[in-house]
Symmetry: D2
Subunit: 298 residues, 4 copies
Amino acid sequence: MRHTGKAARWLALSTRLATRLRTLQQQVVVVQLGGAAGTLAALGKEGLRVMEMLAHDLGLGVPDLPWHAERDRIGEVAAGLGVVAGAMGKIATDIALLAQTEVGEVSTGAAGAGGSGRSSAMPHKRNPVEATTALACSRMAIGTVPVILGAGVQEHERATGGWQAEWQAVPELFRFTSGAVQWVLRALSSLQVDAERMQANLNLTHGLIMAEALTTALVPHLGRSEAFRAVQRVSDRAAQTRTNLRDVAAADAQIRAVLSPQALERVFDVSAYLGSTDTFIDRALADFRSMRPQAPAR
Amino acid sequence: MRHTGKAARWLALSTRLATRLRTLQQQVVVVQLGGAAGTLAALGKEGLRVMEMLAHDLGLGVPDLPWHAERDRIGEVAAGLGVVAGAMGKIATDIALLAQTEVGEVSTGAAGAGGSGRSSAMPHKRNPVEATTALACSRMAIGTVPVILGAGVQEHERATGGWQAEWQAVPELFRFTSGAVQWVLRALSSLQVDAERMQANLNLTHGLIMAEALTTALVPHLGRSEAFRAVQRVSDRAAQTRTNLRDVAAADAQIRAVLSPQALERVFDVSAYLGSTDTFIDRALADFRSMRPQAPAR
Amino acid sequence: MRHTGKAARWLALSTRLATRLRTLQQQVVVVQLGGAAGTLAALGKEGLRVMEMLAHDLGLGVPDLPWHAERDRIGEVAAGLGVVAGAMGKIATDIALLAQTEVGEVSTGAAGAGGSGRSSAMPHKRNPVEATTALACSRMAIGTVPVILGAGVQEHERATGGWQAEWQAVPELFRFTSGAVQWVLRALSSLQVDAERMQANLNLTHGLIMAEALTTALVPHLGRSEAFRAVQRVSDRAAQTRTNLRDVAAADAQIRAVLSPQALERVFDVSAYLGSTDTFIDRALADFRSMRPQAPAR
Amino acid sequence: MRHTGKAARWLALSTRLATRLRTLQQQVVVVQLGGAAGTLAALGKEGLRVMEMLAHDLGLGVPDLPWHAERDRIGEVAAGLGVVAGAMGKIATDIALLAQTEVGEVSTGAAGAGGSGRSSAMPHKRNPVEATTALACSRMAIGTVPVILGAGVQEHERATGGWQAEWQAVPELFRFTSGAVQWVLRALSSLQVDAERMQANLNLTHGLIMAEALTTALVPHLGRSEAFRAVQRVSDRAAQTRTNLRDVAAADAQIRAVLSPQALERVFDVSAYLGSTDTFIDRALADFRSMRPQAPAR
């Protein structure tokens, strides 16, 4: 359930970004026609009409002015894709951390002996190659963003270096951002969750994950500061003695004085301590489903 | 006039960015409240209502889900300001290039002997300090963007390093972007244009700036390839002999055969070769004036 | 022992970098004196002698030529510190990963209830704040490197923006690199290792960490490909049945046919499988100890 | 002569960098062999000897320890090449600025009509394509440096993303740095200097370039502050009246009172105001010539 919430946030993040990319596309995909000096002078009185007709034929928007040396639209694209690359890196990092041998809550990739994630030196290891590759793509994509933003500092009506750097950097940005999306997709498509291990890891904390719930229950009785101190005391004792927090709390005089055994039982009911998780999951799914399928580009 | 067109594009660029920043502000300024695990569990059934009330009290938007570790909104801010920083760098670069001793078409800053741009070693020089400082700010601002995008790769529900890097990088991004805007403003507020020098520089090319006009006039008679070859030929001759292109063209047999002296006069009328410049200037001004003044932030 | 090897590599890394920084300092700390145009013309025939005397008085090296607009030395400093920042990030990352709740092999910081790493929302958690802060510093420091390298692209004898960006970026680079070093130092000074947990984590793999040793023992008998296949087979079986690899290997017909029970026992003796770790530790310590203490800067 | 000094600094810069790259190569090109966990355990007692033999066979240095996850050497390479890329950008920028239509002191590239630098829209323009391409390469190369330094933050003994990012970023760094060097070489190989235009540009300042010399001559008589004020006064007058500084100074009462006509003549003798330029040129050439030719890599 903990990771259902996590996956809902991954989905909400991806939906937000897909929506923004569509908006961005409409804003920035406009024609550029200006002639040698950006005045359309060579076209005489027909300059603006030619620009409009060209835009129409190419299925592009019509800008108010030629923008040859004002690269804000290119910068917006770089920025938008850079945010996507960062988001893919976040999802990939979560997966890689969950897949660590010592955590083991998920695995990814083909399961068989020839699976892509097999370590060559250590046959027992299943490396999260999809997440790892997504992370490499994410780093490369983000690395192009300052190059493109810096290349927006173009000289007069003709750049010396900035424009030419865009020819390299913009395709790389698309290539690596797209790579990050694809590899996250592969990781998620092949994701296997080990619910048993997940539960075991939760138990590793000796009930300490319920410390927030205990604090919340104590605050009305003890005030915030005293409640916090009490929970730190029993948390420390639980950690040092490797005893469950619930048992330590039940034996603590200050806590027993204000919380009955029944109240304590309700505090430590993990299944009741999901807050608004279900609502969040519903919302993330609804947002995703409300995205209109997008017609393919002309 | 050449630089009126340039200034119109500076204005159009700035208007586009101001408009986008306003849109961005509405998208990203939303409350974050999630509790220890992003579930609002400590608030029981009232979690969502508390989140909404907090947003209302702070004048912030209400997100669908808590987003503590999904930093796309922070990334959008970084990206949006990075584009602004790049745009300020473009305007500042144009000013610095125009202010070069050998070009001398503009100067900036206070005119008196104690003016800020005085070189300490060379009293005769007026350095474009406003543009130079804007450029330094622009570079610093853009430098923070990949740090912030990379910091968006945050671990689980709590980042180890990325979040903490934002604490440093986001204020710096605002500081330096704001600095770039302020210094461009100072440069433009104190801009002095030397129209005479501007005309003299145009004449430096021996009429070669009208090569596009000549090509355009020849294409209907000679076809594109042949027209281009003819213009290269007379351009080279004009440059080598330091003669005005108009005189060289008037003496060229192939060109004389298709363009009458009257036609040639019209081709070389610089004042008629402004294309849609006036329309572009009108549009840039209209777009700027149509921006609603923005109420100050609460 | 596994982590003794890791710490030895941290030490070797730090020793290499400290040594290189000393070399770098000698290379780059040279005087700059050139006058308005880098010719020392204002000093007549005495220019070079004045430059040498100034260098001597300031305790700086003497360059062959003035270098006002050739920023390679500044770039070398940026690059050298950027490598240090990356190295500190590596050590901090290792610590943060070892300190994860699910791994728990190390903890850092003051142990008491008021220790700096206490989570405000979750009293039971001890966040690795030292490592986390070091990572934030590392990211910020690395972020300044391309700004400084890009600022090395300076115009003629006087930069418009690049030089001024250095004024901001170079101090930040020193500040954040130094911060990264200091926070790694604090993390290491307060590092507490949980050897028991470390052993337990090793056991989590059901002996699979000895897969390399088993492969090595089988290669002389089965050839590399066949040995690798055999180890994958028993590794998969061990993982699926949660049985120790040793027991699975002992029951495997192909392996039993070539390795006696005694041979198998030697293969799975972890304490004998440390390779050259001890030598590496000795070398790392010797390299560190051989660094001469450095006299404080004048 | 002014640009001879500039070229000497370009040469000194290039010589310094070539020397450092050779040193760097010896430091960082060492073998990596560690086995699955960096302990050489699979090789038993022979691990170190195998590592040494492998290094010998490959013509590589022998490190003290395996360094699989300590990427300082890769970082040093990135840093060293990034400095080279910045330096190439500096030279290319100088060339591009000198080649501006309004400056016109140099041109580059093939001279003929089909020369690579022909503008397609403006046949009369010779764009400095070599310098421009070098600048684009320089920006791309520098853009990879923070990616590589950041990728040095690798996890434990196996990176999740950083190592994989190096596979993309390191070849790109070499490709683009090498591209920057090659294009600067082409620009310099085809460089044509217009000495006449250079002199004309110097005259553009109405003798103001000698302001430093005048200040220097006045300081012994007037003190630094008063000399500076006097030079500002006559500089302003020269600029406003477009009169030569020499004539304005000769007519200024305060200056006439302390400098005789003969003294003033010596002050304004440009050919005597080269300071140590010749020595610097000789040194730059000597340093370059003293570089031993390097044997090709094995």
